[in-house]
Subunit: 145 residues, 2 copies
DNA sequence: TGTGAAAGACGATCCCT
DNA sequence: AGGGATCGTCTTTCACA
C-alpha cells in the first residue's frame, strides 16, 4: 500500500466506473500497470467491491430510522439471519454496551415501519430514532495522517 | 422506474464496473438502450454515484465506533462543517430524540479515538459505543414488496 | 513492477424503426 | 423508447526492460 495504491483507491472510490486508461492518466502510470495494481487490491480484499449508490429518497424509501435492539438472549436477531436479510434493513452493526446491535433501516412509509418494529419485537426490545438527514452520507477511506 | 430500471440498478449495485454490453446481456436489452436508461437514472439522481468500497480493516482502520453527540446548542457539530469533514468520520446521521446526531467513525488506534473524542467534546457531550462487527455492511436498494 | 505495441472488445453516436 | 451499424477508444496480452 504505497502512495500510488492510495491514489488509485481515491479515484475509484470517487468514481468506480473510471476506465483504466483514464485512471492511468490521472495517476501518471501506464494502463497495464494500473490494471495490475487494481487486480491486486481486489485480490487482497482491500477493495471489497464496486457499487452504484442509489438515492434512497428518489427510490421511494422516504422513511429512515436507526433501531437499537435490546435482544432476548438466544432470540437475538444476530442469531436469526433470516431477520437481517429483510430488504428494509440496509446496515447492521454489532456493538458493545447495553444493546446488542444497531439496525439502519429505510422504508417507504410509516405504516411499513410500524410493521417492521412489530416483527422485530419478537426478538428483543427495539428502540427507534428517526433519521432526519445524512450530513455525511459516506466518506472515502484515506490514509490517516 | 419500471422493472427494467430495477434490474439495471440491481446489477450496477452488485458490480458498478459492469460494461454496458455485459449489462445488456444480463437484462436482455441492447447496449444503447441500457446506456440510455443508465444515463437517465444518473441524471434524475436515482444513481448518486459509483464507488469502490474499501475494507476498513485491511486499510488499517481497525477501530470503529458509533458516537452519539448531545450538542451544546449553537456549538452543535452540525453547524461546524469543518468538524464533520475529518477523515475519521465516515458517516453522520442527523436524528430525532435526545441527541442531535450519530457519527460513525473508523480509526487506526484507540489513542487516535481518544483524541477524536477530546476534540468533539468541545461541541457537545459524546457518548460512544464500539463496533464489534458489521453483520450487514451494506445492502442493495430494491423495490419493497 | 512498469512500458510499449498489437489484436479484439467495447462505448458512443447516428439513424432507422 | 429500442435495435443495428459505425468508428474511435479502451482492455488485455505479450515481449522486453
Amino acid at each position: 500500500m504505497d502512495a500510488m495504491d492510495w491514489a488509485i483507491l481515491g479515484e475509484l472510490q470517487a468514481d468506480a466506473r473510471l476506465s483504466y486508461s483514464e485512471l492511468s492518466r490521472r495517476v501518471h502510470l501506464s494502463a497495464p500497470a494500473v490494471a495490475e495494481r487494481v487486480r491486486r487490491l481486489e485480490e487482497t480484499g482491500v477493495i471489497s467491491g464496486y457499487h452504484a449508490h442509489v438515492d434512497l429518497g428518489r427510490a421511494g424509501r422516504t422513511v429512515r430510522a436507526l433501531i437499537r435492539m435490546d435482544c432476548y438472549g438466544a432470540r437475538c436477531v444476530l442469531r436469526h439471519e433470516e431477520v437481517l436479510t429483510q430488504p428494509e434493513i440496509v446496515q447492521v452493526y454489532r456493538v458493545t454496551g447495553d444493546t446488542c446491535c444497531l439496525l439502519v433501516v429505510a422504508l417507504d412509509s410509516m405504516a411499513h415501519f410500524e410493521r417492521l418494529i412489530d416483527g422485530l419485537s419478537h426478538y428483543g426490545r427495539p428502540s427507534s430514532t428517526m433519521v432526519l438527514s445524512s450530513p455525511v452520507a459516506w466518506r472515502p477511506v484515506t490514509p490517516l495522517a
